[in-house]
Structures are given as structure tokens and as C-alpha cells.
């Protein structure tokens, strides 16, 4: 049986997205397609345009030109329909500090008009248990550590089972066990048809999880494809993702920088 990724239906599509902030071209003509059930890594240096692209894809930022489609629905033309299928986790999750974890999940479930009842309650408890937040009764999110906020942010996405997930640094601040849990969870979700676009600086995570990667540099996609395709593109068959990334987003050689920094005082 063909996996959802192989059926060819497009879940996320960026069509020539451009975003200008004054004179700065934060995103400059980004286009790509991601099929159902795929996990795609979205890589780029700091300030390369990853977060702006993700925020355009989920409708938080209006593009200067171009558009974004979620399950074939234009997020700017039919925002409510598209948003109902979408989950976005920011690198600093949007949470309410004066709610407890359980109250926050209820809040999100109500915002998305999820049916109330034992099924929702059980799902919530399962998620809280999974992320080791179940015993935090009475503790407000404001008192959570960064990693715990990340977990409650993820739980708030998973409680409503969106078909498309846009994740900005989802393992940021997580302990190794939780990071592993997130990786396993994403693989399982993808096998069930959920599409994941994952922005990360941790190239090992991208290499381990993602079938394809897209690399953005100075607002433009400089490479996209599977590891094999990227290696072929770079002309280096043994290259790791780190090597490819550094080659495609070329900056000053780190060795030269270190030598300059540590040069003996005159």
C-alpha cells in the first residue's frame, strides 16, 4: 500500500512568496510543495527567512506577493477553512501564562470548536501524560520552564489533530528524552498522513527525521530535495547534511575566523 507521501496530494504549497520589510527582502520568491505525510526539514542560518516563511504559510504574516495553500486552500482567501487544518508551533510558543496546562488545552480545544466530552478529556490526559505534565496540577504555565512550555505548545497542537504541522524549532529547550519523544511522535504522525514542515538548526534532527530538506539563504531557496539529490547537486557523495548546508549557505570559513580571533596580540 502506498504511503500518503507517495499518493502525490499536495498538503503545503508556497507559491512565489515574497515579504519585504521596508527595504529588506526577508523572503524573496520562495516556492515549494510538500505532499501529504511528508516530513520536510526547513534549514537556514539565523535571519535567513525561515520564521517569516513559516508565519506566511500559517497566515500570521501577509506576503508582499505570492500565496500559500494548505490542503489546496489559499490561506489568505479562505483563512478559516485553512486554519482549521493547520497547527503552528512558534520557536517561543504562544501560551497564556495565567492558565494551567489543562486549562490551556481546554481553551485551545474550545477555540477550535472541538466537541466536548470524555473523548476530548481522555485525549487531553493522554497528551499531558505523554509530555509529563499531568502532575502539574495548579501550576500556571508562567511558572513552566522553557522546555515545559514547548511541550504544552506541542500538546495544544496535537489535541486537535491538524493535518498539517508547521514547527519552528520544536526540540528547542527539550531534554534528550523529550526531544526523542517528539521525533518519534512526528514520525508516527507522518505515517498516519500528517504533513510536517520542520524548521530547525539541529541538522542531526533534520537528517534523521526528514525525507527531504529545503535550504533557505538570504530569503531564497538555494536547494531542495532528498539527501541524495542534495549530494548530487553539491557534487559530493559522502557529504553530511552539515557539510552540504555550510557549502550551500557559504560564509567566511570558520577556520579563518578562529585564526583571526586567536591571533597573538600585537
Amino acid at each position: 500500500m502506498a504511503s500518503p507521501a507517495e499518493t502525490g496530494q499536495v498538503a503545503i504549497e508556497a507559491r512565489d512568496l515574497v515579504k519585504r520589510f521596508g527595504v529588506l527582502n526577508a523572503v524573496d520568491g520562495v516556492s515549494f510543495q510538500i505532499r501529504h505525510g511528508e516530513i520536510v526539514g526547513f534549514l537556514g542560518a539565523n535571519g535567513a527567512g525561515k520564521t517569516t516563511t513559516l508565519r506566511m504559510l500559517c497566515g500570521l504574516v501577509t506576503p508582499t506577493s505570492g500565496t500559500a495553500l494548505i490542503d489546496g486552500i489559499d490561506i489568505f482567501a479562505e483563512p478559516l477553512k485553512a486554519k482549521a487544518r493547520l497547527g503552528y508551533l512558534d520557536e517561543e510558543p504562544f501560551v497564556h501564562p495565567h492558565l494551567t496546562g489543562r486549562e490551556f488545552l481546554n481553551y485551545i480545544a474550545d477555540l477550535y470548536r472541538m466537541a466536548r466530552g470524555p473523548e476530548r478529556q481522555q485525549r487531553m490526559e493522554r497528551l499531558l501524560g505523554l509530555f509529563e505534565l499531568a502532575d502539574r496540577n495548579g501550576e500556571l504555565i508562567g511558572a513552566y520552564s522553557h522546555g515545559m512550555r514547548q511541550k504544552i505548545g506541542l500538546a495544544s497542537l496535537l489535541i486537535r489533530e491538524p493535518s498539517v504541522l508547521l514547527l519552528d524549532e520544536p526540540t528547542n529547550g527539550l531534554d534528550p528524552r523529550s526531544a526523542r519523544l517528539v521525533k518519534d511522535l512526528l514520525e508516527e504522525l507522518a505515517s498516519r498522513g500528517t504533513t510536517v514542515l520542520l524548521s530547525t538548526h539541529i541538522l542531526e534532527v533534520a537528517q534523521a527525521l526528514c525525507r527531504r530538506v529545503a535550504i533557505i539563504d538570504r530569503g531564497q531557496i538555494v536547494a531542495t530535495g532528498t539527501m541524495e539529490e542534495l549530494r548530487a547537486q553539491a557534487g559530493s557523495e559522502q557529504a553530511s547534511l552539515e557539510d552540504l548546508f555550510l557549502k550551500l549557505t557559504a560564509g567566511p570559513e570558520s577556520k579563518e575566523l578562529i585564526e583571526r580571533l586567536l591571533a597573538p596580540k600585537q
Partner: protein, 557 residues
């Protein structure tokens, strides 16, 4: 020679302030400067004139006024300046950097003291201008003016040092952020209380008829003149009276006390710093951790489909209950109607009829709406992004906020309206008319308040009172005034029109009131009401479109 760390810290703060100012739009900067100049001239000029007049015409009350002024300043600074002192000395992640750096605690203390004094210095400027005015009115010698500046500075120093001492003790048991929030709540309440007390005592002391009656003030000051906070006042009054011995004694006592308190504050602060970094830092303290218990059968246990409006309302309600800073904004809003109601209920107070009630409920409704409704959207903070990502229209968000804010505004205004209407001897028909007006005004003012917050939200603002920008504030004020005038005008035309149609009113000024004139008045009333609705509708529409196109990033606050 190496520069003192105190200056390094202060220079960095000044640089940061400069950057914050320069980041603003030039138009806004000019507007702010003009506003500050106008406010300075108005408040400073007023305080100077009051001081000069009192110095000239009330020579026997000079000592009481100076002693009372200095004590009032100390109390005001102690109550209102607390949040600034806590924020500067005990909260803030930059403190961690300073504690870790090879900087002597006394240098941190000195720099922080100067920074923390800024709020208290601003408060003290009012007393300074009044004291200088009193000196001019009393034909005081030149030394009086020099001493006035020095003694007021000493008073600021003293109040700030006392605050540091108190907080150094309190923070051994209470987390700094919690203490700051409680202090802000107390300051908000105290500020509103001071304003009301001042307003009511002014009315009592300076009634329209007869001479000012300062006996209450002087007898109060006679009871507190031994307080150290009154000593600088005695020193200044001794200078005016030409009694150098007494002046030097009071001055010496004031300086010695300030020195002692300052030294104690420094020692205690140093010890608090060394107690450990756990007191400081950015993490919110865990105030309460419940023991593990089975999951509650709460909202999720109920049947039906989740309602976004209900979810937003529940979340806001929980936020109000748990966020002391938000509560601190809410409580003064409730204090004002209570205070004004009490002032009208006092024996001997005559309420001048139905139309006074109309204007009073209009004012209370507008005041409550602007306090509660205006920050309701910006107070979402970063959580606003959750609403933007949810399958909701901004119109649904605005509607939810209006529905949430309306009940307390209506309840309080109706209660207040009923009390003043009954006291002014209004009949059941007037009471009913007043109730209809209250509902109408509440709906309009709350919608305008929510819209104002939606037109120019400042989601990054840590304080709800700064959560709406200039455009939103002006839109809210303009809209409220327009809506209020049109509504009250329409209401008047309906009431007078009804009288004309029923024949109970024969003349309205020089106009004879026939049924035809009554019908004309009703037409005018409908037109004005339609205008009022148009004002509200326009603001709601602008807020909806501005929120729909909002795409700014919202920093973590």
C-alpha cells in the same frame, strides 16, 4: 583612573533610554514633548500659584502646610513608588549580570538608587513647585529656596531608602515579582483613594460659599508634626520665620536621619544580594503546587461543541483572578463609582434632579468602559497569535470581548444609577428611562472601548495601562465623546418629545410643545441615535479591519 561601575551602569541606562526615545516616530516625540510641557506648565503653575497664595494669605498655616506637604509627599512616594523600586532593585534579569560581574554591591546600590529615585523625583516636583511658591508668597530669604531643593531631594532619598529596607526584609519570604505585583495593586488603589480623598476634601475645604476652611487640615497636621517626614517642613518654616537655631536643628535632624536610613538600606540590600540569586531572576515563582489528584471532570467532561467566545471569556476571567497586575487596573475602576456614590449619599448633599443623574451615569459608564474594555484586546499579549491562528474571524473576537466586558459595566452603572435616582426622588418612569439609557450607553461605550484597543493595540506592553497607542486612545476618547453627546441628546429629545405628545410639558424654553413638535423631537432623537450607532459601527469596523490585517511580531512579555 578607572571609571566607577555606578557611572557605567547609569550610562548604559541613559543610552538605552535614548535608543527607546529615538525609536519612536518624530511626530510622536514632538507630541509627547508638547504634552509634557503643557502638563508641566499646568500642574507646576497650579501648584506654584496655590503655594504662593497660601504663603501670602495664610501665614499662620505655613508650618502646618509645609509639614503636611512633606509628609504627604513621603506617603505618596512610599505607596506609589514601590513598584518602581522593586523593579529597579530586585527584579530584572540585568541584575544577574551585575551580581556576577566584579562590581562592588555598593556601586550597584548607588546606581540603582539613582534610577529608582526617578519616579519619586517626578512625584516630588509637584511639592517642589508648591514649596517654592510658598516661599515667594511668604517673601522668604534666598537660602529658603536652596534648602527647599536640598530637603525635597533628601525626602526622596529617604523614601526610596525606606522602600529598599522594607523590600529587603519582605523579599526573604515573598518572591520579588509577586511583591511587585501586589505593590502595583496597592499603588493603584492608593492612587485612586488619594484622588478621591483629595477631591472630596477640596470640596469640603473650598466650598463655593464662604472662606476656605483649613481647620481639618491644620488639626490633622498638628497630630502628625512629630513624624520624621515632617522635619524638613519644620526646617523650612523656621527659615521663613527667621529662627536660624530651629532651622539648623531640624535640618541637622533631617540630614542625619537620611544618612542613617541610607546606610541601613545599603547594608540590607547588600545582604539581600548575597542571600542568593534565587530571589531574583526572570522565572515566575511557583506560588502553589497542588498535590497530585485525579484529573477533574471539568469543562471537557461536558457535552456539546466548544465555544470560542466562552473559551475567551473563561480565560480572561481566570487571568483577572490570577494576574494581580490586571486586577490592580480593575480595582480603581470599581473604587471610583463607589467613591462618587458615597459622596452623593452623604447627608446634606442635595442631588439636583434627573438630568444630573443622566450625566453621572454617562460619566460612570464611560469611565468603567474605558478602564475595562479598552485593554481587553491588547491584554491578550502573545496569546493574540493563538486567536489569529484559530479558525475565527476578528469580528468574533471583538464580539466575545464586548460580551465579556458588558456585564460588570452594566451591573455597576445600573446599581449606581438606581442609587442616585432613588436619592434624587426620581419616579418609576424616570428610573426605567435611566435604566434604558444605562444599557444603551453601556453597549456603546464598551464597544467603543474594545474597538479603541483593537485599532491601536500594543501587545508588547507589560502594563495594561500602556496597552493602547495614541491613535487608539484618541479614537476611543473621540468616539466616546461623540457617542455620549449624541446619545444624551437623543435621550433628551425622546424624553421632551414624550412630554410634548402626552401634553405634560407645555413649553420647552421659548418653544411651545405641541404633539407635532413632540413628533419632530422624536424624529430628531432617532436621527441622533442613528448617528450614535454610526459612530460605534465605524469604530468597530475600523478595529475589525485593523486587527484582520495585523501582522506585527509580538515579543515575549
Amino acid at each position: 583612573m578607572k571609571e566607577s561601575a555606578t557611572w557605567t551602569i547609569l550610562r548604559a541606562e541613559v543610552l538605552a533610554l535614548r535608543h527607546r526615545l529615538l525609536k519612536r516616530k518624530p511626530g510622536r516625540l514632538v507630541g509627547l514633548a508638547l504634552f509634557l510641557t503643557a502638563a508641566g506648565v499646568f500642574i507646576g503653575g497650579g501648584a506654584f500659584t496655590v503655594g504662593a497664595t497660601a504663603g501670602q494669605f495664610l501665614p499662620s498655616a505655613r508650618d502646618s502646610m509645609l509639614a503636611g506637604g512633606f509628609t504627604a509627599l513621603a506617603v505618596l512616594m512610599l505607596v506609589i513608588g514601590f513598584p518602581t523600586v522593586i523593579a529597579t532593585f530586585f527584579v530584572g534579569r540585568d541584575l544577574l549580570q551585575l551580581v556576577l560581574a566584579p562590581v562592588r554591591p555598593i556601586e550597584i546600590f548607588a546606581a540603582r538608587l539613582l534610577l529608582a529615585m526617578s519616579a519619586n523625583v517626578l512625584i516630588s516636583l509637584i511639592l517642589l513647585t508648591a514649596t517654592l511658591g510658598l516661599g515667594v508668597g511668604s517673601h522668604a530669604p534666598a537660602i529658603y529656596f536652596v534648602l527647599a531643593v536640598i530637603l525635597i531631594f533628601l525626602q526622596v532619598l529617604l523614601a526610596t531608602a525606606v522602600q529598599v529596607i522594607l523590600m529587603s526584609v519582605v523579599l526573604r519570604w515573598v518572591p520579588a515579582r509577586r511583591a511587585r505585583d501586589v505593590a502595583a495593586a496597592v499603588a493603584g488603589l492608593a492612587g485612586a483613594g488619594f484622588y478621591l480623598a483629595w477631591n472630596l476634601s477640596l470640596r469640603q475645604s473650598f466650598s463655593p460659599r464662604g472662606r476656605p476652611d483649613l481647620s481639618n487640615l491644620t488639626s490633622l497636621v498638628n497630630r502628625i508634626e512629630w513624624l520624621p517626614s515632617a522635619w524638613p517642613g519644620h526646617a523650612l518654616s523656621a527659615v521663613i520665620a527667621g529662627n536660624p537655631g530651629a532651622a539648623v536643628t531640624w535640618l541637622g535632624l533631617s540630614v542625619a536621619l537620611a544618612g542613617l536610613v541610607l546606610a541601613a538600606a545599603e547594608i540590607l540590600y547588600e545582604r539581600t544580594l548575597l542571600t542568593g540569586l534565587g530571589v531574583f531572576g526572570g522565572a515566575q515563582s511557583v506560588w502553589r503546587r497542588d498535590p497530585p489528584r485525579p484529573a477533574p471532570v471539568d469543562l471537557a467532561g461536558r457535552r456539546g461543541v466548544g465555544s470560542p467566545a466562552r473559551a475567551i471569556a473563561l480565560k480572561d476571567w481566570l487571568g483577572y483572578r490570577r494576574d494581580i497586575r490586571r486586577l490592580s487596573r480593575l480595582l480603581p475602576a470599581f473604587l471610583f463609582p463607589v467613591g462618587y456614590a458615597v459622596s452623593f449619599i452623604r447627608p446634606g448633599r442635595s442631588i439636583s434632579g434627573f438630568w444630573t443623574d443622566v450625566f453621572l451615569v454617562g460619566f460612570i459608564s464611560m469611565f468603567l468602559s474605558s478602564s475595562l474594555a479598552t485593554p481587553s484586546i491588547p491584554s491578550e499579549r502573545r496569546g493574540f497569535q493563538l486567536l489569529r491562528m484559530a479558525p475565527l474571524t476578528m469580528w468574533q473576537v471583538i464580539r466575545a470581548k464586548v460580551i465579556l466586558t458588558l456585564p460588570p459595566v452594566l451591573a455597576l452603572t445600573l446599581l449606581f444609577g438606581a442609587v442616585v435616582a432613588i436619592l434624587s426622588g426620581s419616579g418609576i418612569s424616570q428610573l426605567t428611562a435611566l435604566a434604558v439609557l444605562v444599557v444603551w450607553l453601556g453597549l456603546g461605550f464598551v464597544s467603543i472601548g474594545v474597538s479603541a484597543g483593537g485599532i491601536d493595540p500594543r501587545f508588547d506592553a507589560a502594563d495594561d495601562r500602556r496597552a493602547v497607542g495614541l491613535v487608539g486612545t484618541l479614537a476611543g476618547l473621540g468616539g466616546s465623546l461623540g457617542f455620549g453627546l449624541l446619545s444624551v441628546g437623543s435621550f433628551a429629545l425622546f424624553v421632551f418629545g414624550l412630554g410634548a405628545v402626552e401634553g405634560t410639558t407645555t413649553h420647552l424654553g421659548p418653544i411651545p410643545t405641541t404633539p407635532a413638535i413632540g413628533a419632530l423631537m422624536w424624529t430628531g432623537g432617532v436621527t441622533l441615535a442613528a448617528g450614535a450607532v454610526a459612530v460605534v459601527g465605524m469604530l468597530l469596523w475600523v478595529a475589525n479591519s485593523r486587527l484582520g490585517s495585523y501582522e506585527g511580531t509580538i515579543a515575549a512579555t
